[in-house]
Subunit: 214 residues, 2 copies
Amino acid sequence: MSRVRVHNFAVSLDGFATGEGQSLDEPFGHAGERLHEWFFETRTFQAMQGKTGGSTGVEDAIVRTWDTGIGAEIMGRNKFGPQRGPWENHDWNGWWGPNPPFHTPVFVLTHHPRPSVEMEGGTTFHFVDATPEEALRQAREAAGGLDVRIGGGPSTVRQFLAADLVDHMHVAVVPIVLGRGERLWDGLEELEKRFRVESVSTPSGVTHVTFTRP
Amino acid sequence: MSRVRVHNFAVSLDGFATGEGQSLDEPFGHAGERLHEWFFETRTFQAMQGKTGGSTGVEDAIVRTWDTGIGAEIMGRNKFGPQRGPWENHDWNGWWGPNPPFHTPVFVLTHHPRPSVEMEGGTTFHFVDATPEEALRQAREAAGGLDVRIGGGPSTVRQFLAADLVDHMHVAVVPIVLGRGERLWDGLEELEKRFRVESVSTPSGVTHVTFTRP
């Protein structure tokens, strides 16, 4: 059975996975890039940008697992773009540029479906108004036996965790206090009891917490 | 100048430093002992209980610093006992037994002062209705040039952090999701900017985050 995985999902010490005030210029709102600076340093991230260089230590090793064996992604609408409500037009195809880093089918959860968009490099965005279970069914079918990644944002990850659909999760706890935004952990009391949990700190100051279904 | 220190202060991944429903039998409410199991394993904790044995690894080394050079503690009333409002009597002298592990003057913050209580082993509880600044002034005077520990609970630590009175803090992030209780981090946005922050995970799964005033 293909697994459902979450990777490189950053939260602050106070549990926020994104700041307040998402906009076209600030996908993470007032958090800016503070949750992801550690990630930008890695060779894996640099390669996603078509660049060379970057760190190749333990942090990069952890980050690098994000796309191994992944056949489809599910993301919330806010990871696609900052629009709310009905789409005003279909001209803008998300934050991810003409050649998004996913290279698989991507299912964008939205109450406002629109036609699928095929991008360069193998990414196709499908817009679906569906429960987590139904979205996962579609993503699994598209993944051809490979794993499905839940890409975020926080409310999407939280929904899949609440429905006990996640088999592996990597959370990067960044030692900052964001104060406001959207929390990952709400409503997930005793989540740890469903997983084998490991914590490893890296010199960036980030702690990588992995949750693996036993 | 003597420093103000916080030690062995455990929080969950979702930032709760205590659970919901404190009572005489459950000082940490529904959290039970889940925030402190890692701590109980250490030789330092065992010694506090008058026992021998316990771990002597990195975790114990971190824990052990809690009383070095400490001349007084300040704690919130809820770390003394579960009573709320006016004291019904003065017969019960807190959760800490006849010989509390502090062995210094301890200033208990409360809106309901009562006479000081001298315990065995050098601990004297003083009950003060004071601002953080005034309580610290009294504790510093009692500490005779040594450091002052802010012992908790979360609202007390938070008040001292908000007033920028803390010089060193050790927080143990325990990889559990408590879901409810009292949060440490509320109202402390960008706390990290005032400190040098380090994170170290130990095999217990706990991540020790230290905040040191530069």
